[in-house]
């Protein structure tokens, strides 16, 4: 079993095929999209492949240490940030092929006109613990 992170981007991924901002969809199209995402997660829970999923607010802050006795420095949000994560889902699957299959399904979530968004999702394998048997 390998865990994969499915990353959804606000910015930084190539443009999807069906590229219409959500507030330009109809309310029914939004509902259909939300339902699709919910059903997808439910199905993965039933197959025993779902681990976690969270959405992130678009605006964050950069923080760094600024020396002893000084408060951390904060900066941002940066309008020019090229890569902005919108949320993630963690899945635990048997193979890379299965992970790709699931990411493909998630990317087919309906958008404007009820058509699949074809959104680019980033698939990143987790680094795991070393195996016990190595030879």
């Amino acid at each position: 079993m390998t865990k994969y992170l499915l990353l959804k981007h606000y910015r930084g991924a190539p443009a999807p095929v069906n590229d219409v901002p959500m507030d330009r969809w109809t309310p029914e199209e939004i509902s259909a999209h939300v339902q699709y995402m919910r059903d997808f997660a439910d199905r993965l829970e039933q197959t025993g492949e779902y681990v976690d999923g969270q959405a992130l607010a678009p605006e964050g802050t950069f923080v760094r240490y600024d020396g002893t006795g000084r408060p951390p420095v904060t900066d941002g949000p940066f309008a020019e940030t090229k890569d902005l994560i919108a949320g993630w889902m963690v899945i635990d699957v048997d193979s890379y092929e299965r992970a790709v299959e699931l990411a493909g399904e998630l990317s087919a979530a309906p958008g404007a006109g009820g058509q699949p968004i074809h959104e680019w999702l980033e698939l990143r394998p987790f680094l795991t613990e070393p195996p016990t048997i190595t030879e």
Binding site: M22, D23, R24, T26, P27, I30, S31, V34, A55, A57
Partner: protein, 384 residues
């Protein structure tokens, strides 16, 4: 087996152990062990005297743990093997536990966790589930909280206002899991109101908080659609409101208001009661609601209250008046943009409203609100 009945005995059993000389942290562990024993044993052998059973079992658990400890630390002589039954009343014990678990030295998240375990009788696992954190994290939070309050004496009068804030948090911020935290908050507030009585300086505010919870809980079934989306108050199917909870909330609130010790929870409950009282959204008495918001501004001077007041003014005196009231409120507040969008829509400026709804969706702090606000923007954009 009635698990809620079992848990309702928790504070009394814990109070008895503490009065017998057990320190709070050890007694709390022992009661938790006894509750888990009860969940296992009672379905097979229901006890004739549930409280007596729990006290005996918890005391035995406490002695076992102390003896194991004593082997290392030689302190068993602090514990009396056959103690006299305590004499102080159960209500006093319960009250002292509320004070301890919501002690001002605790952070809000620690106070919430400790209250749910030591007063509410929930297991660490249940609390962890409710707040979506791993069980060891929650166990650690609870044991740190117990260490923080270890030196607090249980016979000092506590801070009721802090207890009320903790219960408010439990009601307002439950997430998931097998225990319904809203129900649990109502149960704990009801128990607190009974223990504190009506003569206490904050007895009316305790009743006010209980009324506030009941009145909001009454709307729960109507608050989300079948697909999980939020349904705003004005669009809720009022026939799905829980009339028994509303009747109880209104009755408790009226009795509290009659004692003439107004506080913010009573004022908030009064606003909820006015909504509950309206057969349709159009019949809402917005003028009275604005008056209650004025009262709340006087009591709390909170910017969030001013924001909500501006929306109520928009209903009572028209959207222009609402926008004028909103202009005096700090625009960095969460929901400020959403309120502005709503008032602009009511004022007929759909383009501005749609733009502001989309902006409010980007600022939303939870998914349900974000989806709701995006739908509002989409609805207006579809109309135009």
């Amino acid at each position: 087996m009635d698990e809620v009945l079992l848990r309702s005995l928790t504070p009394r059993v814990l109070g008895i152990l503490v009065r017998r000389g057990a320190d709070f942290a050890a007694a709390e562990d022992a009661v938790q062990d006894a509750l888990i024993d009860a969940l296992r044993v009672w379905p097979v052998e229901p006890p004739r005297d549930p409280q007596g059973w729990l006290v005996t079992t918890a005391w035995r658990r406490f002695l076992d743990a102390t003896r194991a400890d004593a082997a290392r630390r030689r302190r068993e002589d602090r514990v009396d093997e056959e103690p006299e039954p305590g004499t102080a009343s159960g209500a006093d014990d319960t009250l002292q536990l509320y004070f301890l678990c919501a002690h001002p030295s605790l952070t809000p998240s620690s106070a919430v966790a400790l209250t749910l375990r030591a007063v509410g009788g929930l297991t660490t696992r249940q609390i962890a589930q409710a707040y979506l954190v791993p069980e060891p994290t929650m166990a650690q939070r609870i044991s740190r909280a117990k260490r923080t309050v270890a030196a607090v004496r249980l016979d000092q009068p506590g801070d009721v206002a802090t207890v009320l804030r903790v219960l408010y948090l439990v009601f307002n911020e439950g997430y998931s899991g097998e225990v319904d935290l809203a129900d649990e908050a109502i149960r704990l507030t009801r128990q607190l109101a009974a223990a504190i009585g009506t003569d206490h300086e904050l007895g009316s505010e305790t009743a006010g908080l209980l009324a506030l919870m009941l009145l909001h809980h009454a709307r729960r079934a109507a608050r989300t659609a079948a697909d999980g989306s939020l349904v705003p108050l004005a669009e809720q199917d009022r026939s799905r409101w829980d009339t028994a909870a509303i009747a109880e909330g209104v009755e408790i609130l009226q009795a509290a208001l009659a004692r003439d010790r107004l506080g913010e929870f009573q004022a908030q409950a009064a606003i909820a009661a006015l909504h509950a009282d309206a057969p349709t959204a159009a019949e809402t008495d917005w003028v009275q609601i604005v008056e209650w918001y004025d009262e709340l501004v006087r009591l709390t001077d909170s910017p969030v209250v001013r924001l909500n007041r501006a929306v109520a003014v928009g209903e009572a005196d028209g959207p222009r008046a609402g926008l004028a009231a909103l202009a005096t409120v700090d625009d960095s507040l969460p929901r400020h943009t959403a309120a502005a969008a709503y008032l602009h829509e009511r004022d007929g400026d759909l383009a501005t409203a749609a733009r502001l709804y989309a902006e409010a969706a980007r600022q939303a702090t939870n998914l349900a609100e974000r989806d709701h606000l995006t739908r509002q923007a989409a609805r207006l954009n579809t109309l135009r």
